[in-house]
Symmetry: C2
Subunit: 280 residues, 2 copies
């Protein structure tokens, strides 16, 4: 399933089944899960999500009540950085004005000089979830999608709290669609890659995750209520620009390609925004 832009700045949820595509009346996944996915659909037989125009695709995280993220979560990356394997996931959040569509430009603010990439597996919550075990949490995962948690490293390190480095507007592409759990299983090991201008920077497998999606969702559900349409990014593997020697950063005009085997691919061109004009 995915979210497409229609005329007049509207969005609509589109699902793919055996017969083809079905455009629903819902404007985002939150509404779609709340309302029952298959109601009031308009069928477009014989087409598939792959057939959709890239520029038509909106973020599957738009309209989410909560967008949550996990910090260090790939064994190889943690060990190469000299850290211990954590006993609990480190959790931070994103405001919804941070997410963009799967082929939208990534906005690089001039306020940061250290723009970095972070390819990530993400999952979408299908129902209200609170206080569940990992086995129970599996039943609350609608499916998986791709994200890039593009980060302003300097701002991320201004204090102990990473929030600001992760919340510049329009920096986090999510999509291109949600592949349901009956069609994809990250525990079998899906290859995650990130390339910048065609040069591969990250390559790992989801089998290297310390905390898988059910474990993360179970943990979160003991602190807060998760709702339909909420999106969780599960952390990035080794190969980020900050960990390279010398360090490497994104810049105006560079193209970031983020791909997960069996799910899909994001392609985003970086755009250096002008300094914002402050109000008086």
């Amino acid at each position: 399933m995915t979210v497409v832009r229609t005329d007049n700045d509207q969005t609509r949820v589109v699902v793919e089944d055996r017969e083809g595509l079905r455009m629903l009346r819902f404007t985002n996944l939150r509404e779609a899960f709340d309302g029952g996915l298959l109601q009031y659909g308009v069928d477009v037989p014989g087409r598939k999500l792959d057939d959709l125009d890239e520029t038509q695709l909106a973020s599957v995280a738009a309209g989410a009540g909560k967008v949550l993220c996990v910090g260090h979560n790939y064994r190889q990356h943690i060990l190469e950085m000299g850290h211990e394997i954590p006993s609990r996931p480190a959790i931070f959040s994103k405001f919804t004005d941070v997410v963009i569509g799967p082929f939208d430009p990534i906005e690089l603010s001039p306020e940061s000089e250290q723009w970095d990439w972070e390819a990530e597996l993400a999952f979408v919550v299908s129902r209200t979830t609170r206080g569940v075990s990992p086995a129970q949490a599996s039943g609350s995962i609608a499916g998986y999608t791709v994200a890039n948690d593009v980060s302003a490293r300097d701002w991320q390190k201004h204090s102990s709290q990473w929030l600001l480095g992760k919340n510049f507007p329009r920096t986090t592409p999510v999509g291109p669609w949600v592949v349901t759990t009956d069609e994809v299983d990250p525990s079998r090991g899906l290859i995650v890659t990130c390339s910048v201008d065609g040069v591969e920077k990250q390559r790992s497998s989801t089998s290297d995750l310390v905390f898988d999606a059910p474990a993360i969702l179970s943990y979160l559900s003991h602190a807060m209520q998760l709702d339909p349409g909420d999106v969780v990014l599960t952390g990035t593997p080794a190969g980020v620009g900050a960990a390279r020697s010398p360090q490497q950063w994104l810049a105006d005009g560079k193209t970031v390609t983020t791909q997960i085997e069996g799910i899909g691919r994001l392609t985003n061109v970086c755009y250096a925004t002008p300094t914002p004009i402050p109000n008086p």
Copy 2:
């Protein structure tokens, strides 16, 4: 100004001026600032905010696009904890299902055994704000209100990121109203107190803040866009339960009173919620 509950689970913004109260058609402060505060009002002459029934008051942060918080920000508290005065504020965020009205019960989940109080000055943003100086930011502050950033200390310390300890549902009272900047000036030193069951636990002055509201808003505005109705909690002074010897925690039935001179008072009874019933 404040937000009141009406019949049928609705809310309405109420403003006080020289003639009395005026009930606006807007359901929250975000809408009110977007729509022009004084349009379409119904006058209630001769009454004041103080006359409103406490149980009628909703959170002034309900409907906010962003709720942001500052960590260590009172000089005395930082120094007594042996930390250095930070060069930049530590910022974290709250989801909107965390905020409650000024006299609502605080929900203590059984998932935490370390519920702590944090009396805080908060401010409300009046207009879209990006990339401003502290002087410019002053013009984007609608006014000040009172908050208690009730925290689950064990969850706050699960990892380096505090988010989960600060985001249990229905734990953060905000209100009882917003006092506009023409009527109150925290830089002159307003007394902040927090009492539990009538015993004073925190007493400080807003003149001890390291980063005042314009400095915080200016800093935030260089990373993100602030919008009308956004709420920022500015940090808590010394006297929290975690820093006491022996440590003290909130529990079922305890009453938390949070007051700031010249602004107002929150009174919230703690309610130990049952263990949530998970979905299958």
